[in-house]
Symmetry: C2
């Protein structure tokens, strides 16, 4: 958001975290991404630190040197302008990408599955189902954790993640039943 009029996903998420947690270090924000059950949120240092400084340069966040410890660090928090930017990001009109068909790398690959020989196609679907099922347990743990924490939106989001994963699994079962794989 240098001369753009809207925030990127990562910028929005960072502002959102800062708003939700109050003043904290970039690393605290980064941890949240690193701990996310979704591989989408890589939380790479090379993204977060420059981004936070960019937000400060734009006046969306402000920082104070951290008192605790001898380690150099700063605590960041939203400015009034930052709160407005976050709210504008959340407010309608929602971007197409948020309401349209979600992207799905697995679906993309399936589009081109005819490029594999039959045995390869069967293996593809089997592996996909197996690997996706392995993700169910961690998600459910995350869900339970959020249930205990009492964070309404965190809980709803976790339920959404689980629902998305289950829908994909049900679809894959359907795929496996298709003529190609029987």
């Amino acid at each position: 958001m240098s001369r753009r009029d809207t925030l990127t996903e990562l910028e929005g998420a960072v502002l959102g975290e800062l708003q939700a947690r109050g003043p904290c270090t970039p690393y605290t924000v980064r941890r949240e991404f690193l701990d996310s059950p979704s591989p989408y949120w890589s939380g790479s240092a090379g993204a977060i630190y420059p981004l936070v400084r960019r937000l400060e340069r734009l006046g969306l966040v402000q920082s104070l040197p951290s008192a605790a410890g001898r380690r150099r660090s700063r605590l960041y928090s939203l400015t009034e302008k930052g709160r407005n930017a976050l709210q504008a990001w959340l407010k309608p009109p929602l971007p197409e990408i948020a309401v349209g068909v979600p992207s799905d790398p697995l679906r993309t690959r399936l589009s081109f599955l005819s490029a594999l020989p039959r045995a390869g196609r069967v293996r593809f679907v089997a592996e996909a189902r197996k690997r996706m099922k392995e993700h169910l347990r961690p998600i459910q743990r995350d869900l339970a954790r959020r249930r205990r924490s009492g964070d309404t939106y965190g809980l709803l989001v976790a339920r959404g993640a689980l629902a998305a994963l289950r829908a994909r699994l049900a679809w894959l079962a359907d795929v496996a039943r298709a003529a190609e794989f029987r």
Copy 2:
């Protein structure tokens, strides 16, 4: 894929299209993305044309000057190396991002919804449901088209897209029922 050992989503998709359609121009490939019901596939010219030439430089595709018309253009097709790269991209092990919790910009935004006043939160959910429902019809048309076309994988993919959208809608209905919005 210059010194990477795997293809990006876009590279894989372009190779896949070239494989599926046989020799064609970059624009033909681009059209496929432009016509996709998913906003994820922007199909911007600045991405496709340089990418195709990169693939050629790497020896994954080859090209011949297009005979038809006076318009300068080239027809691209996969090389043996390109077919191998495509198959390697499709083959297990699948990347985490393909089997993990799919990313979802709407879910991301919902995480931070507490930053809006109550009226704004209600509006957010209402707008999201309305806009998502508007996408059902085009998806169903796309589904019908693919049903007629007889392309097995295209049909399965379209069914997956519809299933994903419906699951999200069901989840949003759930969200709307939550305490916050009654």
